[in-house]
Amino acid sequence: MKKFKDNYQEYYSKIKLNEQKKDVIFNNIVNNNEKYRKMYWHKKFVVVTCSILVICLIGTGVVFAKDIVKTIKNHLYSLEPSDNGSNNYKCVIKAPIINNFNDEYLIENTKIDLNELQKDLNKHILHNENIEDKSFTVVNTTKNDNRIIYAKLYKNGIDAPKIIPEASSNTTLDMNLSFLTRYATQEDIREIIEFEVGKCSDDNFDIIHIDTLDIDVYLYKTSTIAYAYDDLEFVVKAFFVYDDILYNINGSIINRTMIIDFIYDLT
């Protein structure tokens, strides 16, 4: 009986490359060596170049990711109200450029000119780094008619001392936005600001209320939400800053729950 070693050697000695294959390999090595070498360096060059390109692309992506996300968000949240009312609010995100309020749309429904008011609110909420020190000014809104904005402060339903004197058409009022921020989460001492808009000689005022939305601003890392609405809550504007972006929500048929849901979705 043959030993394992003999069997093994016999088995492997039968395995060999045929002469034709050997010639091909020899020819590949000796005659095409330069070609192979070039191919090797060419391959290396391609791999290195591609790697550098990929790294550059990833690097650029990381650097601009924040901007790209913001751009996409801007695009996604720029919803215009549709004619059939399916989108019942207009949401525009623009920072730091203040959105041009869709005046026509609002006037059609309410006859209230909110332009100046919006500008002031925007200005102060945008620059909310030292919001305690800021104040906003309310002036008469249009030059073409006699409309004047009156502002009254209410604290727990009682008249606050600062009331704009009637008929003072160009009165400015320093109204600190800390009214909106300081008491945002303290229900019992929250202050509501009301603006009366209308002709000074007329009792038929439109009233705009400015309130804050009851939301945990620390938990959701947002600024206080300024929430402006008319008497019937038919026209609503809401402003807040989240992640350095001003969110300006405005439109009709929109309620507090919808705005809060919107903020929950953001976070």
Partner: protein
């Protein structure tokens, strides 16, 4: 220089092919490995000692490394075209079923078996080539033999 290479090529190509085949059990992979090994040798021959023993050792070590590299590649792990399609016994017409029997040997024992039984290296020499402890080599040889013995007994029982 080319004559020296030609001499080495013709002298060792079959041995290198067999060593590669003993590990891969695949004709096409073995041919690729042979070409890669000799191409490396051709490019580096000036830096390698002209002593034939050293050359042979270099070729063996390089072949083993190439075999291991082949099985490390993701391509090889995911794709295998020929293993089940090509039976080398048809080409060489073996008289007995030794090839089927030796195929049962797990991969990690194959190189050591080949160096020991085919090249006739001692366990100490194998230890130098493969950089594996001598005691481990002895243990693997013993275990490999046991596996093959059990396979043989199993086949006999079937018969």
């Amino acid at each position: 220089m080319q004559n020296w290479f030609e001499n080495i090529f013709s002298k060792y190509i079959d041995d290198i092919y067999r060593l590669a085949y003993s590990y891969t059990h695949n004709k096409y992979d073995s041919e690729d490995i042979v070409q890669r090994v000799f191409l490396k040798y051709y490019n580096k021959q000036n830096t390698i000692n002209k002593n034939e023993f050293e050359v042979k050792k270099w070729l063996v070590v390089t072949t083993i490394n190439e075999c291991k590299d082949l099985f490390k590649s993701i391509w090889k792990k995911k794709v295998n075209f020929f293993n089940n399609e090509y039976d080398i016994s048809k080409e060489y017409k073996f008289e007995d079923d030794f090839n089927a029997y030796i195929d049962k040997l797990p991969k990690k024992y194959r190189i050591i078996f080949h160096l020991y039984y085919y090249y006739g290296y001692t366990t100490k020499e194998i230890s130098t080539i493969t950089k594996i402890k001598e005691s481990t080599i002895r243990q693997r040889l013993a275990r490999g033999r046991k596996i093959l013995k059990l396979e043989r007994e199993g086949e006999n029982e079937k018969v």
